[in-house]
């Protein structure tokens, strides 16, 4: 069976890759495109480790077919920082020590950025619900929530 030739925009760059029709976007990002920052956790949409933005919308890349991103835009964890300047969410994760093993971290950061893109001043409850689809099995959630709320404060213009 012929492979699918996909042309898409990933982190602002035009990319093309070949994939099998049933390959996941997660698999294509890691294996065909070579962007291994997006992590594979459950592959059933439960853990959030593979979160990416597709046309600006937060999605689990394990439940997107790679062929679906033809002509669409994808943002992965590699596209969150501005060159060498970390995004405030990344910076605050470091400052708050909001990670241990790091497998869940790219998914949390992409999801948190998606939250702050639309809601600059989320409450703690909103933040916890928004991130409820991202599972962390070592740090626990408290430092992560503190980091995201602190990043939100850092992103808001001075009152």
């Amino acid at each position: 069976m012929a492979k699918v030739h996909v042309r898409t925009t990933i982190n602002g760059e035009e990319k093309e890759f070949l994939c099998e029709p049933a390959d996941s976007l997660l698999g294509a990002l890691r294996d065909a495109v070579g962007l291994t920052g997006t992590k594979e956790g459950c592959t059933t949409g439960d853990c959030g480790a593979c979160s990416v933005l597709m046309d600006g919308r937060l999605v689990p890349s394990c439940l997107v077919l790679a062929a679906e991103v033809q002509g669409r835009t994808v943002t992965t964890i590699e596209g969150i920082a501005n060159g060498h300047a970390l995004h405030p969410v990344q910076q605050k994760f470091l400052e708050h020590g909001a990670l241990q093993c790091g497998i869940c971290t790219p998914g949390f950061i992409v999801a948190a950025k998606a939250l702050l893109d639309t809601r600059p001043n989320p409450t703690e409850v909103e933040t916890r619900y928004w991130l409820a689809g991202n599972l962390c099995r070592c740090t626990g959630y408290d430092k992560i929530i503190r980091a995201v709320l602190d990043a939100a404060a850092a992103l808001r213009p001075e009152a």
Binding site: A22, G45, D46, R57, P60, L63, L65, E68, A111
Partner: protein
């Protein structure tokens, strides 16, 4: 090894041709059920027919008569839609309960219907809003009421070559509001043990003039319960009327015993949620009058 194709038709007619020509093809909407089932080996489609490039499958069109909801519109898009929230707060509540933020970015109401889980959250809320499924097929279009669309767990009325295109929801008459409640043992990310949806119309004097009640996860399909609605119609939603609706919902429930709950528990909860959802819908109407 059997191969799988990926197709992304841009019109309903092209999608119908694809699924009609190939009985092994599966329609791909959000993929939050289909791709999990595929990777678990439950089915091996010969093709994924991705319907999200078909404009009328991914939009929400509001007119005088109501709303036409594209079957493959993402849950998040529905929840952000101001008119959907205003017209159908209960339905939006049900949509919002499905999965995480990530899943909301993918999952669809059409997919929720076609997956035909007895515990689907949106089905009851569609039923009480008198929603109709618009189905396209090789012999043209047909319309099926949502309460008749699912015929059992994982089974629907869709025939070979047919595709759920959209869901038509009539504009609620003045003084109408809906509500949906489900019971899960935690606050998020779970499958309903029981769900209940209610839509009520109240006259200016507070008397209930029309009602629809539907319950989920207590039978092989979501159930419309006219006896529960009858208990509410003509009343001012006093305690006796609410208790009557609750008893009717409990009586209509024919649940199974499983790890999520026993038969007796589900029966009772079906009544409790019906009563509470009716009270919420009534409060919503009063907020609007």
């Amino acid at each position: 090894m059997q191969t799988t194709r990926y197709e992304a038709p841009e019109s309903v007619a092209a999608a119908v041709r694809l699924v009609d020509a190939d009985p092994g093809a599966k329609v791909l909407a959000g993929g939050t059920d289909l791709l999990i089932q595929f990777r678990a080996g439950l089915h091996r489609p010969t093709a994924f027919v991705d319907v999200k490039r078909i404009p009328e499958l991914v939009d929400i069109a509001v007119d005088r008569d109501g709303v036409r909801l594209g079957a493959a519109t993402a849950a998040a898009v529905i929840c952000e839609h101001a008119e959907m929230r205003r017209l159908f707060p209960g339905l939006v509540e049900a949509v919002q309960l499905i999965g995480s933020t990530q899943i909301q970015g993918r999952s669809t109401v059409g997919g929720n219907l076609c997956n035909a889980s007895p515990a689907a959250d949106t089905t009851c809320a569609l039923i009480v809003n008198r929603a109709q499924c618009i189905i396209a097929g090789p012999r043209g279009e047909r319309t099926v009421a949502v309460e008749q669309f699912c015929t059992g767990p994982g089974k629907t009325v869709l025939q070979r070559g047919e595709l759920l295109v959209s869901i038509r929801i009539p504009r609620p008459s003045p003084g109408t509001a809906d509500a949906y409640l489900r019971l899960i043992p935690r606050s998020e990310m779970d499958i309903a043990v029981v769900g209940a949806a209610v839509s009520l119309t109240l006259g200016p004097d507070g008397v209930c003039t029309a009602a629809r009640v539907a319950i989920a996860a207590v039978a092989p399909t979501a159930l419309l319960v006219p006896e529960a609605a009858d208990a509410l119609i003509g009343s001012r939603l006093d305690e006796a009327a609410l208790r009557g609706a609750a008893n009717a919902a409990s009586a209509a429930a024919r649940p199974i015993d499983d790890k999520r709950g026993t038969i007796a528990y589900r029966r009772q909860v079906a009544g409790v949620l019906t009563k509470r959802a009716a009270a919420i819908a009534a409060e919503r109407v009063k907020g609007r009058i």
